[in-house]
Subunit: 159 residues, 2 copies
DNA sequence: AAAAATAGGACAGTGATGTTGACGTATTAA
DNA sequence: TTAATACGTCAACATCACTGTCCTATTTTT
């Protein structure tokens, strides 16, 4: 891959990819909206719940980096979630400056339900498109992620 | 497909898909942010430019439906774009109530540059993941789109 | 031991983009 | 002629993100 390879794809292939990502993301994300609204929460809250569930005990900086938002932005959402008893902050034993993030049982229950909303749609898509489509799907999306963030994303799967 | 098929995917496969869509979308979308900021525009403007470019002459209702936003929301963005001389509204000859949307030459130039920002990333991802990954990628994302919207999305490719 | 760096938290103001409700005009369909 | 439709506007509000600033406690470096 040292040499730039002439792009074998035409504009139409690229635009199709752009559009499908836009619509695919939009449709998937919407699956949780109803439940979130019922809970008086938004998508930002969902993302926080999701990633804490994925990596229990991650610290605030790690979550900031995962979400690619500012601490003030996260602070508002996190504050609401802890106030609501869905998230718990524990001071790290290794470094007392750090706050480690955990879901409470209520938080885990909610995240699980939200996950169910998304997963019914995504697993149906996997099934409809066929097993053999999944590795390609993963590969291209992975390749869209900037190199410096790939390890972080892949570490989600390590837990 | 009449019978519900036992899901062959485990939770980990599903969560991976969710995460990759989230990060993939986020990273791709960011590619245009710098240029947008330089132009004093945002992502909502970009989406409008994109879809008008894709379907010149579409009417306001069609764009509302594509973007899945309210007319008030669109109106603000569209107003800014017409004010900026990037988009042009023409009354339809067939139905004088309708406004048909076109990019101006300046609008087309900008959209083209923005497309270049996204396409360099996406075509690199196609290349990195390999040709054989692309159909699977398309298939799964297509399957994520609700049935009632698929024709609309596929019609983008018809032009 | 002291200085510097770091983690997290809070305050405050602002901006982008989305929503709801309401109202109105012109045009087309019933 | 009446009803429906397309679009436009006004207004207020919500979500979620940003920047700048300041502070305390803790850890690391000098």
């Amino acid at each position: 891959m040292a040499d730039p390879i002439p792009c074998p794809f035409n504009e139409s292939d690229i635009r199709r990819g752009i559009e499908l990502i836009y619509f695919g993301y939009s449709h998937l994300t919407r699956m949780a909206d109803q439940r979130l609204e019922t809970q008086g929460l938004g998508r930002a809250h969902h993302r926080v719940l999701y990633f804490i569930s994925r990596q229990p005990g991650l610290n605030v900086s790690e979550l900031l980096r995962l979400l690619n938002v500012t601490k003030q932005s996260l602070s508002r959402v996190l504050g609401e979630l802890t106030q609501r008893g869905l998230v718990e902050l524990r001071t790290s034993a290794q470094d007392r400056r750090q706050r480690l993030l955990f879901l409470t049982p209520d938080g885990a229950t909610l995240e699980s339900a939200l996950f169910g909303d998304l997963s019914s749609r995504l697993s149906a898509a996997y099934a409809e498109a066929g097993n053999e489509s999944v590795p390609g799907f993963w590969a291209i999306l992975t390749s869209l992620i900037a190199e410096e963030d790939r390890a972080m994303v892949q570490a989600l799967d390590g837990g």
